[in-house]
Symmetry: C2
Subunit: 262 residues, 2 copies
DNA sequence: GAGTGGTCTAGACCACTGT
DNA sequence: CAGTGGTCTAGACCACTCC
């Protein structure tokens, strides 16, 4: 025998799946649902919580509970890497027009708001291992967030690390007022003589920390996609590491793997 | 001013982060916590629910609340595709020894339990579009689940589609007792004269449906990684489509993108 | 101000786990 | 059996939204 809140949840879920409750519709108020199902208010609220965790429902304080609309996805491809590499040696005028994010999303620069911050940090054990350097080595940490101009929440948080010694020849790379750098990281590395040979991306899904949930304005129960990108130069040395955080409920990542011919 | 349950959650979260409460530790009973914080039981339970959603806590009915242990990850790479292609034309003896899952996880065949089911279905609008065929075209649907012998829950659910006409020349491909097919899908396709040229994988994170949560034995609040894999032959035709469902809390996907030299 | 969801209480009873 | 978490109730008061 299912519990009372499960039965209410099942019933409402059914109404949503059949379209009896359409996306955007407001549900009856919690008090009315309690009456309807002859259950107490907390029990009804428990049922709604289940549906919220399944992504079927949006709760809006003071307004009501609404059937969630299908999500619009932001895409992120791995073909962006080759695209960025091809442009890294192009003249400034060409590089300035669009970046890799625009390549992925089809949006234009003016649609996006970009924010960057720089910091010098010492390599943690984990980062030192990933870079193949000693713990405590000087790193440059750059934090980015990018959002649509029309929205308040960013759709990516990026924390990027470079070994300081590698980039010290180009002081512009340590100047946060120079961001967004036209042409992106691969062009930045080109200015200090580095060519990338391979990019590795490790992807996991996990619940956001409370801080991350707040910054990305994630509804409760939404996971984040955590992507650890490591860029290797043509000699196989790790030269840049980025931790990218993407809201799981509106990001689609597309990876294309070419195969060698028989 | 934070709410009561938030303050309790913050306090416990702090204890966990500092290690005052170590992974595997049991928390005081909910009644004791209620006493301690001078709050009602439901308020304490609300706080614990927050921590559970953050993946910091495991609730175990009748036993207690426990600090969650760090998760052990199952890895899934995209280098598996080239690896599988290289083996697709090898003799049976070599193909039989290990499959792509073993390549990724480092496990041996005897560690894994494999289950397959076959069904003939008509192409939905969505699948028809992805295959570039007419809606209603005959497809073969194969469902797999793979789990560790020592665990009860599978770590992948796979639903794979092939166009029936493409594989009808080899009747073994329609026989579910022949699974796991030594050498995997790429060898199966080789038997009907298909060579793969490119594989595209689209990854999203979303909350599981109630059915999926049950089948994967996911704790509440855990997301699934949903991967739509499309295999294209050397002429760019989609020949196989797989929907792969992975538990988000213990899967790491690794994608390597090689870059062309300047 | 009326209507909505959000927080909190005090307590009852049930279900699961271990001894 | 004792101790734990899971479900459910009836009701109070607060915070937000919209008219």
């Amino acid at each position: 025998m299912a519990t009372a809140y499960e039965r209410i949840a099942d019933d409402l879920r059914q109404s949503i799946r059949t379209g009896q409750l359409a996306p955007g519709d407001r549900l009856p108020s919690e008090a009315k649902l309690a009456d309807q199902y002859r259950r107490s208010l907390p029990t009804v609220r428990e049922a709604l919580r289940v549906l919220q965790a399944e992504g079927l429902l949006i709760k809006d304080h003071g307004r009501g509970n609404f059937v969630r609309r299908p999500r619009t996805f932001v895409q992120r491809t791995n073909t962006r890497h080759q695209w960025e590499k091809d442009r890294a040696r192009e003249p400034l005028t060409k590089r300035a027009s669009t970046g890799a994010t625009e390549h992925d999303t089809g949006l234009e620069m003016p649609d996006l708001v970009f924010h960057a911050a720089y910091r010098e940090v010492k390599a943690t054990a984990e980062l030192a291992k990933a870079f193949g350097v000693d713990e405590g080595t000087d790193l440059v940490e750059r934090s980015y967030r990018t959002r649509y101009r029309v929205e308040t929440a960013p759709f990516t948080l990026v924390t990027s690390y470079l070994v300081r010694d590698l980039v010290k020849e180009n002081p512009d790379l340590l100047d946060e007022t120079k961001e967004p750098w036209p042409g992106g990281t691969q062009n930045q590395l080109y200015t200090v003589g580095v060519e990338l040979g391979r990019i590795e991306e490790r992807v996991t899904a996990r619940p956001p920390t409370s801080e991350e949930a707040e910054e990305l304005e994630l509804p409760p129960g939404t996971a984040v996609l955590a992507l650890r990108k490591t860029s290797f130069d043509i000699n196989g040395r790790a030269v840049e590491i980025s931790d990218v955080l993407l809201p799981g409920d509106r990001t689609e990542m597309i990876f294309t793997t070419p195969l060698e011919r028989w």
